[in-house]
């Protein structure tokens, strides 16, 4: 894996998302908003069926980048939601290196990522960014799962 500005990270696919995936996430997180698992509730609110918790696909995106660059190295993770994710959707997480900085304090490198979750190419359901800190670019590149 090359960690220089503009480099593309290897993409990773999640899903198809099942109702069980959604319920498992709701149990893990403690967010029991019924709109994500209670069919009559979701339909009464005007939706065709239940939809995924935004933080599930955000969690996949976070897992995607910490698996690549090391869970102890992450310093910031940010995600913005663009569209709902439905049972059966297949999601692809991808990213690129937005910047590699070497702060003057000599404490190491800061690697900034641009991230996205797509259902189909161009159909972005969530986008985000992250910053990882490492002793060196080589250290970060070998942090991969």
């Amino acid at each position: 894996m090359t960690l220089q500005r503009g480099a593309t990270l290897p993409s990773r696919t999640f899903g198809p998302i099942s109702r069980t995936d959604i319920v498992r996430y709701q149990g893990a997180s403690g967010d029991f908003n019924p709109i994500h698992h209670d069919e009559p509730f979701a339909q009464a609110a005007g939706f065709p069926t239940v939809f995924s918790v935004g933080m599930l696909q955000a969690g996949y995106l976070a897992a995607y980048c910490v698996d690549l660059l090391g869970p102890e190295n992450v310093r910031r993770f940010r995600v913005r939601f663009h569209d709902q994710v439905w049972p059966g959707d297949v999601l692809t997480c991808s990213g690129s290196i937005a910047d590699v900085e070497e702060p003057a304090d000599g404490a190491g490198v800061l690697i900034s990522l641009d991230l996205r979750v797509e259902r189909e190419p161009g159909d972005v359901v969530a986008s985000g960014s992250a910053v990882f800190a490492a002793a060196s670019v080589r250290t970060a590149a070998t942090s991969s799962a």
């Binding site: 999640f14 995936d21 498992r24 996430y25 149990g27 893990a28 997180s29 403690g30 967010d31 908003n33 709109i35 609110a45 005007g46 935004g54 933080m55 599930l56 955000a58 969690g59 996949y60 976070a62 897992a63 910490v66 698996d67 090391g70 869970p71 102890e72 190295n73 992450v74 310093r75 910031r76 993770f77 940010r78 995600v79 913005r80 939601f81 992250a130 799962a145």
Partner: protein, 143 residues
């Protein structure tokens, strides 16, 4: 109407537990060996959402403190900052949830939508702020 900016919604403590860290990693399909095999793994960034499980039942949910209706609630953005390596299993964190801002905006259909920001601070046993999360919640226009 909800509470004003700066209002503290809830204060409580949470412990970073091995089973919960592993459960969360599994639910989000994180597979890094430091998460799955280590005896004291660090959390993954979005694990901080599970602080909700430690909130006392009588404390309002953040969307309730913002005065938002559940049926019209959307999650707009979410951010996590770590001021060093993310806390690991065994850490005891003091959690403070507060309202950062709430603004009204004109929606596409001419109604009023509201955008609220909730900040959650996580302070470790030594009094150090180790992490901060920020939730942007959107209440869509009434139909």
């Amino acid at each position: 109407m909800g509470d004003q900016p700066g209002t503290i919604v809830a204060r409580f403590e949470m412990t970073v537990e091995l089973g919960k860290v592993r459960e969360f990693a599994r639910a989000t399909q994180a597979t890094h060996p430091h998460l799955v095999d280590a005896e004291a793994p660090p959390i993954t960034p979005t694990f901080l959402m599970s602080a909700a499980l430690w909130q006392p039942p009588d404390a309002p949910q953040p969307y309730e403190a913002l005065g938002m209706e559940l049926e019209r609630l959307l999650h707009g953005e979410q951010e996590f900052e770590f001021f060093g390596p993310p806390p690991g299993v065994g850490r005891r964190l003091a959690v403070e949830v507060l309202i950062e801002s709430i603004v009204e905006k004109r929606g596409r259909r001419g109604g009023v939508m509201r955008v609220g920001r909730i900040v959650t601070n996580f302070v470790d046993e030594t009094g150090t702020l180790v992490a901060r999360s920020r939730t942007t919640a959107i209440e869509t226009e009434a139909l």
